[in-house]
């Protein structure tokens, strides 16, 4: 099958790749670009482990084709920390033990950042509903939800 040539922006850097038209954005990130931080838990958009930002919107990258990234901006977990400085969400997740196995963590962090970008002061209920598309089987969500609320408070300067 003839491959598509795609020009896109990933984590602020211009990137070009060739992909099979059937390949998902997740496949491209993981298999073509070696950005394996986005995880595949279901490939049906149910678990959120593959969450990335596409033009500022959180999407399941398993439900987006690689070719659809043409001309758009993709942000992945690999772009969240700035150099050696973790994003407050990343740091608070560690301080408050909001991960156990860690497979769902990249997806939660991407989704949580998308929430705080649009709503810097969410309620617990807003956090829970925003993150309802991200499955975690280890934590029972308690420490994840607390971490998002605490990181939000910190980012608001409280």
């Amino acid at each position: 099958m003839i491959k598509d040539h795609v020009s896109t922006t990933i984590n602020g850097e211009p990137v070009e790749f060739l992909c099979d038209p059937r390949q998902t954005l997740l496949d491209v990130l993981r298999d073509e670009l070696n950005l394996t931080g986005s995880k595949e838990g279901c490939s049906s958009g149910d678990c959120g482990a593959c969450s990335v930002m596409l033009d500022g919107r959180v999407v399941c990258s398993c439900l987006v084709l690689g070719a659809e990234a043409e001309g758009r901006e993709v942000e992945t977990i690999e772009g969240m920390a700035q150099g050696e400085t973790l994003h407050p969400l990343q740091r608070v997740f560690l301080e408050e033990a909001a991960l156990q196995c860690g497979i769902c963590t990249p997806g939660f962090l991407v989704a949580a950042k998308a929430l705080l970008d649009r709503n810097p002061d969410p309620t617990e209920t807003e956090v829970r509903y925003w993150l309802a598309g991200n499955l975690c089987r280890c934590t029972g969500y308690d420490k994840i939800v607390r971490s998002v609320l605490d990181a939000a408070a910190e980012m608001r300067g409280k």
Partner: protein, 755 residues
Amino acid sequence: MDIEAPSYKWVGTRPVRPDGIDKVTGRAMFGADFSLPDMLTGKILRSPHPHARLVSIDVSKAAALRGVKAVATAADIPEIPVDNAFVGDAPTNFRHWSSNVLAREKVLYDGHAVAAVAATSPAIADAALALIEVDYEVLPHVIDVKDAMRDDAPVLHDDLFTAGVEPKPDKPSNVAKRVEFTLGNTEAGFAEADVVVERAFRTKAVHQGYIEPHAVIANTAEDGQSQVWCPSQGHFMIRAACAKLLGIEISQFRVFPAEIGGGFGGKINPYLEPVALLLSRKSGRPVKMVMTRAEVFRATGPTSGAALTVKIGALKDGRIAAAEATLTFEAGAFPGSPVGAGCMTGFAPYDITNVKIVGYDVVSNRPKCCAYRAPGAPIAAYGIESVLDEIAQRLDLDPIDFRLKNAAKEGTKAAYGPQFGKIGCIETLTAAKDHPHYGAPLGPNQGRGVAAGFWFNFAGQASAAVNVNEDGTAIVTYGNPDIGGTRASMAQIAAEVLGIDYDKIRPIVADTSSIGFNDITAGSKTTFTAGLAVHEAAKDVVGQLRERAAKMWDISVDAVVWENGVARPASSNAGDFDPLALADIAAMAGKTGGPISGHASLAATGAGPTFAAHICDVEVDQDTGRITVVRYTAVQDAGRAIHPSYVEGQMQGGVVQGIGWALNEEYIYGSDGRLQNPGFLDYRIPVASDLPMIDTVIVEVPNPNHPYGVRGVGEVPIVPPMAAVTNAVASATGVRMTELPMSPPRLLAALENGS
């Protein structure tokens, strides 16, 4: 609760986990994240039938397809004879696992692996699977555990005769085993009882539901030496399984532990690993295999569905007079349900004179069941704790007081044999009763339930090494996959013994060739057992540090003590020397005897049993039958929490898995014997918006068999929730649900029948 209240510098603190940065930045390498040059994609052809004879498998067209480099079926692996099915004293029946990994003669469930291919691309591998011609002779199937026990049920295994009954049956059946535990005389006990309640319950098979699908990459060189990278709950177990199933020597390959994306018991056993290794050995190239979510549901896990009856009699004063239970567990396609553990744990929180529990292990056309967090115990507790709740209600007793009146304590003889040593059952129940949650007011349509739970905890074998670096830092090497933060606990333990800072220690989970043998990460044993090995290895280092200091001072080693990370003379009689820090001694290692390296390999015993008491509030929507958990408190004896945040996390995670089991999760089969919900959309695990915060109370009754008092913590939190939720629903509605899950249609039907 803190009985001895010793002061520790690191034990009991909450440092950031050593592997944390990698896990919040996407750097951590999980199973599917590895790749190798020239790698092939491996895929598996799975049976669409729940039960069929494999008349023939023709792989010739698939093998001839361009890009296909290897094809495998059960014919490529040795059949393991009945009398050589086990390795050492481990309970794993490898004859069964061999037939599960690649079906031999018959397929026994929808999703059973039939053949495998390795090809140069995923698309070619898919095309090759479609070219494999399998001639199935479809056989009648049986899914339900009760149906499988009937005399006229289709028999899965011609060589399966019920064990544990006399005389030995003369014909095969699906009942693999009968077990029984008795204490006293239940008939006499029931005769004295003032109130007797007997109920029958059903639970459905549920999956462990880890978010990471099974994945593996195997590579083989021309000399036959192989490497395997995979997530598992024990890479030494994967090594043993690959060696046994493929008939190769252990020295021929290494297994490297990938980060593991959840397991809960479901990643103890081999699925893809031996197949990938086989395909790699056949093709001479690296082979990567990753399951789809549907494959995970159809062919791995789950735990048993069950049918159970529970009968308990009590006196007016609240003493339990007699207790009986019969537990019938689905094993899936091969024997080995956790019914034994269910029988052993169910009544263990209580001091009861007359007990009888009978269990049946029953095969049917479902995937081979696998361990799931406190295997068997939640099912038994669901029935038993429900009946206890009803008795407390009938006797007008507070449910926690009723349990306290019968609570197991030091010296209590459990029905399954042992006499308890120091345990925290009473302390745990008391802490639950004292919690503000227990007396808080309830709103309309709300109800409160409580339940208790027990888990043995396991110990087993472990190896660890502590290597002191020349700059005074240290590497802790151990061999249990870190599934939820144990690297932090290992570093804390080593820091405590060595007296150096936590961040001077780097814990590493080593591959199978780089450290001595380790049992699996399971049975709530890693912090206990691997922690003991790390403790002993660190003590070995301390001994060497004292020897080196003695040598540097030219005094006897007995005259040197190690305190707070420095060597000092034991007394002024020993001489007047400035203390030597670990870094000072490490810098001189080459001149005082060489590298400082501590080791420990041990078979631990004395894992302290643990108890939990949970309080659950639910709100019931009378119109839709939807149950919402609105408040939940979990109390548990941790012995000693090394890292309390991760203990709380285990408790919260276990509770929520139990809530899913109670309310949503179930394997649904059609009349065709095929699984109808092999995906997260239709197999609905709890999501964040379903739940409240899960409050936790860590009780600490130290385990006398551990230097810090550790008890395993990972499993017992899933034991009480199903009963706690059920009891809360009964309190809210007056209707006692005897079938899980309590999905809205089931509750709605029960409300309509009950009122």
